[in-house]
């Protein structure tokens, strides 16, 4: 026993040997504990407090409560299925088809990552709604897009890049020799696909499915806009907080939303993703033989082109909405919406959001890489706990993060040592960082696992300190991943709505919250202009990164994969 303790102590001493690194690590850990774990604990304790009993009673009495949960589940299942299929199609075409426009398809496949909330839903209502340009004006029908079907369409388009990127990476890593072996044993293409390729992709498909399910559950923007009277948990939490400012009801509903999200996410994280059949053999891998049969190739190509066209139409329509007088009614050109966003009332939202995101991005990036370093390169007790905590920010729905922040920080703590954070810009930055850290950690972990530890060891044995090694060896090697993480963080912060909607104040205007405001009061032109400006800011930040740092960076990897 004493030996065990001594060993553990030695591990910690090794961690603290190096001042700079130790401080960085300590800050990251304190941050995770204070801003990720503590708010969740607060939500749990309030949802179990005696005041919450009344909320449970009324929830159980209301006949619609079960319906809301059921609605949420159906939506999650629908989005997970359709989104995974879409992702699979795009990845398959990318890897297995020898067809033109593949680069274009790839860009379409990642475009939704940078899209602001509401953009897709607004455009879809405008195109396919009851008075939609296509459904009503072109086809003459009054199609009711509101509800489950509209939600599945909009959310699948918004989130399928998750499935696409997962499956793309997996398909590229598949060892083509397996397929070659099957083919040379006489199996036809279809049989190879069915019995060799598909089984090897099962973990990827399952993990896409589960991730999309969790993302769909967490989404707030789309149910508000295109849900009609189809209420899901996220929109109901929004009503509880915004409409009644009932924090107890918010906490209880958050726990109901949190449990399935966490369960599924960690099932995915710890079980499915470990059952990978991807074989890194060290042997040269190729992409195998592309499919040449025109009967398979062209229908797949056509389907992919059709869907890409639809996505392009939906995004293009947002630009149309931003430059016409009244979207859907009066198509006279105007610049007044852009004027409103760029120079008028909206300009403060634009600068505020960019400023807060720009502060949050490097903080999240640096902490993410430090945590990744800690998890991959250092052994100590509680390492898996750190790993777990760092991805929590991804598994916890944004609305829950927001409510947790209100509950935890709406009064001064420790006798005023920590001031009341709600109402400040700082709390929005903190929410952005919490939401961005997981992506930074994950890209960092993936990159560090690929770098042989021998290089670190060589540096250390030549006398470099741990901090020097981190700075001179580890950091340069994981630079592309670090930059990818930065870009993701920035894009994620700029487009984040659910986490900050309960935290915005009159002093700090946030673009996504303004978009909600404009869309809710029917000023779709301004909302569309906000969306276009937001997309432009994110794209130019990627471009800036690309221009400054040049090739072999995260920016390039994001675009070319």
């Amino acid at each position: 026993m004493s030996e065990f303790v001594a060993l553990r102590l030695r591990e910690y001493r090794r961690l603290t040997q190096d001042g700079v690194l130790a401080v960085g690590v300590l800050i990251s850990l304190v941050f995770l504990g204070f801003f990720v774990v503590y708010p969740l604990v607060k939500i749990l304790s309030i949802s179990l407090s005696s005041e919450a009993v009344a909320v449970y009673q009324r929830l159980l009495a209301g006949r619609a409560t079960g319906q809301v949960i059921l609605n949420t589940v159906w939506m999650g299942l629908g989005v997970a299925s359709v989104g995974t299929l879409l992702g699979f199609l795009f990845a398959f075409v990318q890897v297995k088809l020898d067809a033109p426009f593949k680069r274009f398809f790839h860009l379409i496949g990642i475009l939704p990552i940078i899209s602001p909330p509401f953009a897709v839903a607004m455009s879809v209502i405008n195109l396919f709604g009851r008075s939609g340009l296509i459904t009503h004006r072109l086809l003459g029908i009054r199609y009711d897009i509101y509800g489950l079907d509209g939600l599945i369409l909009v959310l699948s388009i918004s989130f399928f890049p998750v499935a696409y990127l997962t499956l793309l990476g997996m398909m590229r890593a598949l060892d083509p020799s397996m397929e070659e072996a099957a083919t040379s044993l006489g199996a036809g293409k279809w049989r190879v696909f069915r019995t060799v390729m598909l089984p090897m992709l099962v973990p990827g498909l399952a993990s896409s499915f589960l991730l999309l399910f969790v993302e769909a559950l967490a989404d707030l923007a789309n149910p508000l806009l295109i849900g009609g009277n189809y209420t899901v948990l996220a929109s109901r939490i929004y009503m509880a907080i915004i409409g009644e400012y009932n924090l107890h009801a918010g906490a209880v509903l958050s726990v109901i939303l949190l449990l399935p999200s966490l369960t599924i996410f960690f099932f995915q994280h710890y079980w499915v993703s470990r059952r990978s059949y991807v074989s890194v053999t060290g042997k040269p891998t190729g992409y195998g033989h592309p499919i040449r049969s025109p009967w398979v190739k062209w229908p797949l190509f056509a389907l992919c082109a059709l869907i890409s066209g639809l996505i392009l139409l939906i995004y293009g329509n947002i630009f149309v909405g931003a430059v016409v007088k009244v979207w859907g009614i009066n198509y006279g050109l105007t610049l007044e919406h852009f004027h409103f966003v760029l120079f008028g009332y909206g300009s403060k939202a634009m600068t505020d959001t960019t400023l807060l995101s720009a502060i949050a991005t490097p903080v999240a990036g640096l902490m993410g890489i430090l945590i990744a370093f800690l998890v991959v390169r250092r052994k100590f007790m509680g390492r898996s706990l750190v790993d777990f905590t760092s991805v929590l920010g991804l598994a916890v729905p944004g609305t829950v993060v927001g409510i947790g922040f209100i509950l935890a920080f709406n009064q001064p703590m420790w006798g005023g040592l920590v001031p009341k954070l709600t109402g400040t810009g700082l709390i929005i930055i903190l929410a952005y960082v919490v939401r961005s850290i997981p992506a930074s950690v994950r890209t960092g972990v993936a990159a560090m696992q690929q770098v042989d530890e021998a290089m670190d060891e060589a540096s250390t044995s030549l006398g470099a300190s741990s901090a020097t090694t981190f700075r001179r060896i580890t950091m340069p090697l994981v630079r592309p991943a670090f930059l990818t993480g930065l870009i993701y963080s920035f894009a994620r912060s700029m487009t984040s709505l659910s986490a900050i909607i309960f935290l915005v104040t009159p002093r700090w205007r946030i673009m996504t919250a303004q978009i909600l405001n404009e869309a809710e009061t029917g000023r779709f032109g301004n909302a569309a202009a906000y969306c276009v400006v937001l997309i432009a800011i994110v794209l130019s930040s990627i471009g800036l990164m690309y221009a400054v740092v040049g090739s072999a960076t995260g920016a390039e990897r994001l675009i070319e994969t």
Binding site: Y146, I242, Y245, L247, V326, G328, L486
Partner: protein
């Protein structure tokens, strides 16, 4: 590698700089320049007691704004220009506002509540969230448009009505509705929009009008029948009008002046009509928030908002309510309230009944569609 270090250092420095100047922009009350004081004393009407003008009133002032976004923006900009008081606003629906004030009781974010049906202000006053204050200019406002106890003062008035998209109605083969009963037409199923009475003052006016017409039980029976035809309950009272303008629904139950606004703004084929049985109306009110962080600035705002100059701003952003100050010119587009059959809507009684009626509304009409706990 070097480029990378430069970039990274740059980002860090940038973030530090931004971080350093970020918070400064927030809490410090800015001392207005001497010239602003001069503007202030001329802009505020001479009836203000001398104590108010002796020491300069400074910002920041935070307004809880009830009317449409663009009116809020225009009013805040004009007030800042006239007084030099740094002002920001948040637009909240009436029920949202009461919920928020209740949650923040003791330490409110807001100084003054400006606009939205006075039922909401009465409800808040009953709950001890309003500090009575009679601005000097309230002397110019007719008695029917202000609270005898001085809890709130009216800034405009308007009537509830139907806002129909004629094109959609024609497609459905339904005539423009002219009675509350017309809304029960099965052909209108899924084609009527109204806000949620718990968040929206507009929609509460709709509910309380039914109470006046049918008695409480009859009102809920009616609300449940209409519920069959409702497409969506929105958060904000005027939002259904934008759905009608876009042709997503046939009829919106909103304040008639909002319908005129949407018609002018969008050019959509919108028709305003009123129920023959009689309809409710609102007195858009302003009130001082209890324990407001900056009550002095709030009082300057409240007095300013009653001046004809301030009230004339509404028409410039196409908000055609009837202004409460008789000296404010009534816009030509305003609905002539004397030609509408109005129910005898007592907003003080309506406000006092609000909490209980909404509990019943939540349980019987909207059960489970939003959080049930009050």
């Amino acid at each position: 590698m070097r480029r990378f270090i430069i970039l990274f250092a740059g980002m860090l420095i940038l973030s530090l700089l931004l971080g350093a100047c970020g918070p400064q922009a927030t809490p410090e009350p800015t001392q207005p320049p001497a010239t602003n004081t001069a503007i202030l004393s001329t802009a505020v009407s001479p009836t203000v007691e001398p104590t108010a003008t002796e020491k300069p009133v400074t910002g920041p002032l935070t307004v809880l704004c009830g009317p449409q976004e663009d009116w809020c923006q225009a009013a805040v900009a004009a007030f800042q220009k006239a007084t030099g008081i740094e002002t920001s606003y948040v637009r909240l629906a009436s029920g949202e506002a009461v919920a928020r004030l209740q949650a923040e009781a003791g330490a409110p974010t807001f100084d003054v509540w400006w606009g939205g049906p006075s039922d909401g202000q009465v409800d808040a006053y009953t709950k001890g969230l309003i500090e009575p204050y009679v601005p000097p200019n309230a002397a110019q406002i007719p008695d029917v448009l202000k609270d005898p106890n001085g809890a709130w003062t009216g800034i405009y008035a308007g009537a509830l009505g139907f806002c129909s998209n004629k094109g959609v109605l024609d497609e459905l083969g339904v005539a423009v509705p002219t009675s509350w009963e017309d809304l029960l037409n099965p052909k209108l199923k899924g084609n009527i929009a109204v806000a949620d009475s718990r968040t929206s003052g507009t929609a509460y006016t709709f509910l309380y009008t039914q109470v006046l017409l049918h008695g409480e039980n009859g009102a809920f029976a009616y609300m449940k029948q209409v519920d069959n035809n409702i497409f969506q309950y929105t958060k904000s009272g005027s939002a259904p009008g934008t759905m009608a303008a876009a042709g997503e629904v046939a009829v919106a139950i909103i304040f008639s002046h909002d319908c005129v606004k949407f018609r002018e703004e969008t050019g959509a084929n919108l028709v305003v009509s009123f129920p023959i049985e009689g309809t409710g109306f609102e007195i858009g009110a302003e009130a001082l928030i209890k324990n407001a962080p900056n009550p002095e600035a709030a009082k300057v705002w409240m007095d300013w908002a009653l001046t004809p100059e301030a009230q004339a701003i509404a028409a410039t952003v196409k908000s055609y309510q009837v202004p409460s100050n008789p000296n404010t010119p009534v816009p030509a587009q305003a609905i002539n309230l004397s030609q509408v059959n109005l129910v005898n809507y007592d907003s003080i009684a309506a406000g006092k009944a609000k909490s209980a009626l909404l509990d019943r509304y939540a349980a019987e009409v909207r059960e489970g569609a939003a959080a049930p706990e009050k």
